[in-house]
């Protein structure tokens, strides 16, 4: 759910890339030396000490973790919390979503809900948003998913409300104290990289199934964006402003309430916006534990291998995302305008709003007794679209299948397998040393310690072989992502029509739940590691393409002009001027690509990628296996942190420093995967 918001320039004021100092032997040569040494030792030792663990086997450590999980029963406290949440959500569901038998419809029928939502759209933003909201709500019903859509809306909004109640104080604390910021960052990093499937069972044990678990999981996943972004906004208020107001002798509290929070308002709303999208991206996972919402029909269509039936509710989730995103964005813009005393005549607006209440009240009243205004009439649009999509998919698969199989085999035999032999079939101590040395070469001394810690952790968790397979897949997928990103990114930057045509596709790739395209991916590529890579590509490539496009687009016209004046061809212009000058963006795009791909590991387990993703799903199956699932989840987290730290160190070396990174996400065009609402 990364970027429904339009993407803005990544690093407008970033310093031009600095060429790394080239003293003595260049870095890539050192890299080659390490790899050559690795291969040398591998020839004599391959296949020994690889720590392979069978699909269903587990070690003593995993058993102990399972026992730990089983020892956590439910308690009166969690039961109380669960029941309260359930009752709270139930009230709203019966109000707008589900019927209370024997009454055949919810308390407020669809017509009333549409009217209220449209009115809210106008109240918080403008009539365009009101129209968008109204049309979206009607679509939910017209395509046949009114109840599930309203359920999802209720669960999402309640989760967001709780997230704000918990997250905002944390954000303020983080904004005020650097030390708190360090600890909180650590916690939210963990919350965001840990695959939700890992703690799903654990939350079920504590809170039971259904609404409470759905909300707690959504909460855990939606909390980080608001804490991180709002905290950053509060901390980032310009020091001169603070000094100026401090000189008037204000207290810390006054400074916070009167200066820091108001000045960070737009950043805080951005955090809220990202929190809403992250919450929405949990729709499908929540359905794994019987949470209500649009994830339900997606999952049940998946068990029937019915692509069309999963596509329609999947697209409605995207529509809800667009609606909520545009509405919060417009609301924040309006609040800025109003705060500066602009905007339309307030008296006129108040009149319009009050006048609007009359038809709203009428619609609510009408929808309480007229059956067709209460229960959405069946129009059959959703079924029609599902049928067409199924037929389209079948014919597309028939045509493409020979090609895609050949491509899968080429990548698998050409890249995946040889690299996997080196990474995973080496003795563990050899891969360990090799990766450590490579991190030193790529990221310098700064990357060495985090890599050492993460690798030791992975070794300790007893899933070394599976982790190496995942690392290998992640690297191959990232290479493919970067090829796509450079080709399309440069093309988009050089031709605005291409940019215009591709952006909506990129947005769709990032927002559509992965579960929806699993069926066509399986039909095209079979169950294999490559299918998992394809799922990763669909999710990761859009972000990388956008980053490269923005980076290349930022290269100053002057530099390009200078190149042209000395007569360079279009090709030379790209290779010699645009790409080198956008080096910072390229490094960032690689980092993001790696982490996005890693976020899809668990999904990969569902389509035959084996390894850690499989282990995580296995952990869901029984209390005995939970420990192995937990270990796999933690291994994924460690891999993510390791990759991120190496890439960050490399980025700093390449001149795309911390500043550019923070700036990029402050502008909100995209978020690092570690902050994203990937549908994992």
């Amino acid at each position: 759910m990364a970027t429904i918001t339009e993407t803005r320039p990544v690093e407008p004021g970033a310093p031009p890339p600095v060429e790394p100092e080239t003293r003595g032997v260049p870095r890539w040569a050192w890299g080659l030396v390490v790899v050559a040494g690795w291969i040398g030792v591998w020839t004599f030792t391959k296949g020994t000490d690889t720590l392979v663990l069978g699909g269903l086997d587990q070690t003593g450590l995993h058993d102990r973790l399972s026992e730990f999980g089983a020892s956590l029963g439910d308690s009166p406290l969690t039961n109380g919390v669960g029941d309260t949440l359930e009752a709270f959500v139930d009230f709203f569901r019966r109000l707008i979503a589900v019927p209370t038998p024997p009454r055949p419809a919810a308390e407020i029928g669809w017509l009333g809900v549409v009217a209220i939502a449209t009115w809210i759209g106008y109240a918080v933003a403008n009539w365009r948003i009101a129209l968008l909201v109204g049309l979206s709500f009607v679509s939910f019903g017209a395509f046949g998913y009114w109840e599930d859509s309203m359920d999802l809306l209720v669960v999402t909004l309640v989760s967001v409300l709780l997230t704000v109640l918990i997250g905002f104080p944390l954000a303020v604390w983080m904004g005020l104290s650097r030390r708190a910021a360090r600890y909180i960052t650590l916690l939210i990093d963990l919350l965001q990289t840990m695959p939700t499937f890992v703690y799903l069972v654990f939350v079920v044990i504590l809170f039971g199934i259904g609404v409470p678990t759905a909300i707690i999981c959504t909460l855990a996943y939606a909390l980080p964006p608001i804490v991180r972004i709002a905290g950053f906004g509060i901390r980032d208020v310009s020091p001169t402003t603070i000094e100026a107001t401090d000189s008037l002798g204000q207290t810390t509290w006054q400074r916070l309430v009167k200066v820091q929070i108001p000045m960070a308002r737009s950043t805080i709303i951005l955090g809220l916006n990202q929190t809403i999208l992250a919450a929405l991206s949990m729709a499908i996972i929540a359905s794994y534990v019987a949470g209500p919402g649009l994830g339900r029909p997606v999952l049940s269509a998946l068990t029937r291998n019915n692509f069309g039936d999963s596509l329609v509710p999947g697209l409605l989730i995207v529509l809800m995302g667009i609606m909520l995103d545009r509405t919060t964005t417009a609301a924040s813009q309006r609040s800025e305008v109003v705060a500066r005393g602009g905007g339309e005549d307030p008296r006129r607006r108040r009149l319009l709003l009050a006048g609007g209440l009359v038809p709203v009240a009428f619609a609510v009243w009408y929808s309480r007794f007229e059956l067709d205004a209460a229960v959405f009439p069946e129009l059959g649009w959703g079924d029609a679209i599902a049928d067409v999509s199924n037929r389209l998919m079948e014919s597309a698969v028939d045509i493409l299948e020979p090609l895609t199989s050949a491509f899968r085999d080429a990548v698998s035999y050409g890249m995946l397998n040889p690299m996997q032999e080196l990474l995973a079939d080496s003795p563990w101590w050899l891969s360990f040393t090799g990766i450590l040395l490579l991190s030193l070469v790529i990221g310098g001394a700064k990357a060495l310690l985090p890599t050492l810690i993460c690798l030791s952790g992975i070794r300790f968790l007893d899933l070394w072989h599976d982790s190496m397979i995942v690392l290998n897949m992640t690297i191959v997928a990232t290479v493919l992502v970067m090829i796509i990103a450079v080709v399309f990114g440069v093309w988009m930057a050089r031709d605005s029509r291409v940019d215009l045509a591709l952006r909506p596709l990129l947005d769709a790739g990032q927002t559509i739940p992965a579960f929806v395209y699993l069926i066509p991916a399986l039909a095209l590529f079979g169950s294999s590691r490559f299918t998992a890579i394809v799922a990763g590509l669909i999710y990761a490539a859009p972000a990388a393409v956008k980053l490269v496009a923005d980076g290349v687009g930022q290269v100053s016209a002057g530099a390009v002009e200078a190149g042209r004046s000395v007569g360079s061809t279009k090709w030379q212009e790209i290779i010699k001027v645009q790409l080198p000058m956008a080096k910072g963006s390229l490094v960032l795009a690689t980092n993001q690509g790696l982490l996005y791909v890693l976020a899809m590991v668990v999904i990969g387990g569902l389509v035959g990628a084996q390894a850690l993703g499989y282990d995580v799903i296995l952990g869901l199956s029984s209390s005995e296996k939970w420990g192995k699932g937990l270990a796999a989840g933690l291994s994924i987290v460690l891999l993510g942190i390791m990759i991120d730290r190496i890439a960050r160190a490399a980025a700093e070396r390449a001149g795309a420093g911390h500043q550019a990174r923070e700036r990029a996400f402050r502008l909100g065009g995209w978020r690092p995967a570690i902050f994203t609402g990937g549908v994992r």
Partner: protein, 326 residues
């Protein structure tokens, strides 16, 4: 600016008019519908209350659940379908009262035993279905190489089963991690030149068998009955050393075929003791693999909704349904 606003107002008015038109095609009043529902509930014998059926994610189970659910609704129960993964989460749901019954339990002996020991759940016998798990090949392969149906000949063909995922060995397609399976042990203990590659889920396994039959690809894997795809894709079972009592006791030493499983119904103790029409129905519910496959076929191949598919079967089988009502 004013012009734009007028346009907005006009669009808004138009949209509102269209909505009212849509909602006023004369579908009757909410009150009438409420009364009809009430009368139905009374006619069926009154108080059944809420009935929460746990639904596991495979089509055969969906067939069980909706047939039982539709009958229960006729009895005046308010049926909720609680969709959940089998195993741990389901037993948590039974313990907490969020779910009332598992209609098709294949394994999870540990969870079941623990639940019974704690007095939370009871085993209410079989839904009549027999679960068959085994090694299957697509029909075309069994036709062209009939000797493949004996495990002793599998090694002759191992090279044909090689894929990008299986290295130098033949690929054996394992299934959803949450299913009962010990193929890795069987392969090892029978000395077969195969590597177990887990498809990851039912969706992936079904796609693989469909594709293999269509394109005449070599495939061998874990599959089971009752499963709706048998109606679409012919499959043959490969004979392993026959199952004998206890040959699967040590999961690491298994070298025999899977046992035929009498599937179980597992219910919440308090639910059964309540004696409601739903509890009686659950205790009496029993049908055959053919019945289940038929309803599953309605849902998948014929594209019917689970409710319609169940209603169709109920209408066609009044005697069987009558016997469940006790």
């Amino acid at each position: 600016m004013r012009q734009v606003k007028k346009k907005g107002v006009r669009i808004g008015a138009l949209a509102a008019a269209a909505l009212f038109a849509l909602s006023a095609c004369g579908g009757g009043s909410v009150e009438d519908a409420t009364e009809t529902n009430e009368e139905q509930a009374e006619a069926a014998g009154g108080d059944c209350g809420e009935f929460n059926i746990l639904v596991h994610p495979w089509v055969g189970y969906t067939a069980d659940a909706y047939v039982v659910g539709e009958v229960a609704e006729e009895q005046g129960c308010t049926v909720n379908y609680v969709e959940l993964k089998e195993g741990g989460p389901s037993y948590e749901a039974l313990a907490s009262g969020d779910g009332d019954v598992i209609l098709e339990e294949w394994s999870h002996a540990e969870e079941l035993a623990a639940g019974i020991a704690a007095g939370e759940v009871v085993d209410v016998g079989s839904p009549g279905n027999v679960g068959i798990i085994g090694w299957y090949v697509p029909g075309w392969l069994a036709e062209e190489h009939p000797d493949i149906l004996d495990y002793k000949n599998l090694n002759n063909y191992a090279a044909e089963f090689k894929t990008s995922e299986s290295g130098d060995l033949g690929q054996f397609l394992g299934s959803d991690p949450t299913y009962t399976q010990y193929d890795e042990a069987i392969v090892k203990n029978l000395g077969l030149d195969f590597k177990v590659v887990f498809s990851g889920g039912e969706t992936a396994t079904v796609e693989a068998f469909k594709k293999a039959q269509e394109n005449k690809e070599w495939l061998i894997g874990y599959f089971w009955e009752p499963q709706y795809v048998h109606a679409e894709v012919p499959m043959k079972r490969v004979a392993l050393p026959p199952y004998e009592e206890g040959c699967d006791a040590d999961k690491a030493e298994v070298a025999c075929d899977y046992a035929e499983t009498q599937l179980k119904k597992v219910a919440r103790t308090a639910f059964i003791e309540s004696g409601t029409p739903a509890a009686t129905l659950v205790q009496n519910f029993s049908w055959t693999n053919e019945d289940q496959n038929l309803v599953a076929k309605y849902i998948t191949s014929d594209g019917m909704s689970p409710e319609d598919a169940a209603a169709q079967w109920i209408a066609d089988n009044p005697d069987k349904v009558e016997a469940w009502l006790g």
